[in-house]
């Protein structure tokens, strides 16, 4: 099977609908398993931090949320490019499903960061480069969500939102490198460094488990939402009638 054929088949709504339906239970189960293991490892097994005591345990949701806020944005922007270039319906659906989830992760990263900042820095918020650029990311997500539903014709809305999503990509490296480019209150990278991560294995393992759990959560919700959106958009297609009749 050629790559082009594979791409075409994956992009075909009925094929994607059935494939997603088969994958869903696996993603959901793996997500719950990783979440349980990560929470147990992070909240119970990992020792307290020598500087921050127990408060550092916020890291197990803060860092995965922040990673996801960037990851989901990149997925959404990549779909935006596909929407603008190939007008692919599935990419519109994925971009539309991703935006609220990405906004949620961004919100979680900001709120948990704020609740971590208060006991450690003495303040809930500072206009620091990392914090400000992450806040701009939240506004970008909200702008994309707004544009997606701003037009009577949702395909026009999808294209408008795609343009904003692509322009906003410039913010992603700014967020990532903000702690290196500017002298920020936010601490530098702990895990994503080229040399050895400066975090003990007993903390790194639950952190990575939580990151995987959040990725699987995103995948699960994405598939659920994409499936129902495809049914709705294609409601007059023969395959949807077959799906409805088969139930």
């Amino acid at each position: 099977m050629t790559i082009a054929r594979l791409f075409h088949q994956f992009g075909s709504p009925p094929h994607f609908y059935r494939l997603a339906g088969r994958m869903l239970p696996w993603f959901a189960t793996a997500c719950v398993a990783c979440l349980a293991a990560g929470l147990y490892g992070g909240l119970v097994l990992a020792p307290p931090d020598y500087q921050q005591g127990e408060s550092y345990r916020i890291i197990f949701i803060h860092v995965p949320s922040a990673w996801m806020s960037l990851f989901v944005y990149m997925v959404m922007a990549a779909c935006g490019a596909i929407v603008l270039i190939w007008r692919m319906k599935l990419a519109e659906v994925v971009a539309q499903a991703s935006a609220p989830i990405g906004a949620s992760f961004t919100f979680m990263a900001l709120v948990t960061g704020s609740l971590w900042g208060k006991p450690m820095w003495g303040t809930y918020w500072v206009w620091d480069a990392r914090l400000t650029s992450e806040l701009i990311l939240l506004f970008l997500y909200l702008g994309v969500i707004g544009l997606q539903s701003a037009y009577e014709d949702r395909r026009t809305g999808a294209r408008a939102a795609a343009v904003l999503a692509l322009v906003g990509v410039v913010n992603i490296p700014i967020i990532h490198y903000s702690v290196e480019w500017w002298n920020t209150l936010h601490q530098g990278p702990t895990v994503t460094k080229l040399d050895k991560p400066s975090i003990h294995l007993s903390m790194l393992v639950p952190l990575l488990l939580m990151a995987v759990a959040f990725k699987l959560y995103y995948a699960t919700l994405l598939l659920m939402r994409a499936r129902s959106d495809l049914l709705e958009r294609e409601r007059n297609a023969a395959w949807v009638r077959d799906e409805v009749a088969a139930r």
């Binding site: 127990e54 345990r57 949701i61 709120v111 709705e232």
Partner: protein, 86 residues
Amino acid sequence: MSALAEFLHMGGYAAFVWGSYGICAAVLIANLLAVRARGRRVRAMLARRARFEAAGYAVGDEPAAGGGVDAVNHPGTGAVSEVGRR
């Protein structure tokens, strides 16, 4: 202090740690419920359309689930509305 109380106390940072975890749990669950509700709404709309069609009525291309899932054409007229076609 018992082990559980000590665990819940979080070395004095209970409000910050459990507050963070609580807000995240609420956001994640709310997203899941919203996506599930959306799926149910779409499936109910499709089932309704199928029932109408089986009864011999013309089913129009009504607006999407968010707006008017119930907007099925008036039975008997056979008119298929072009309004809201996507």
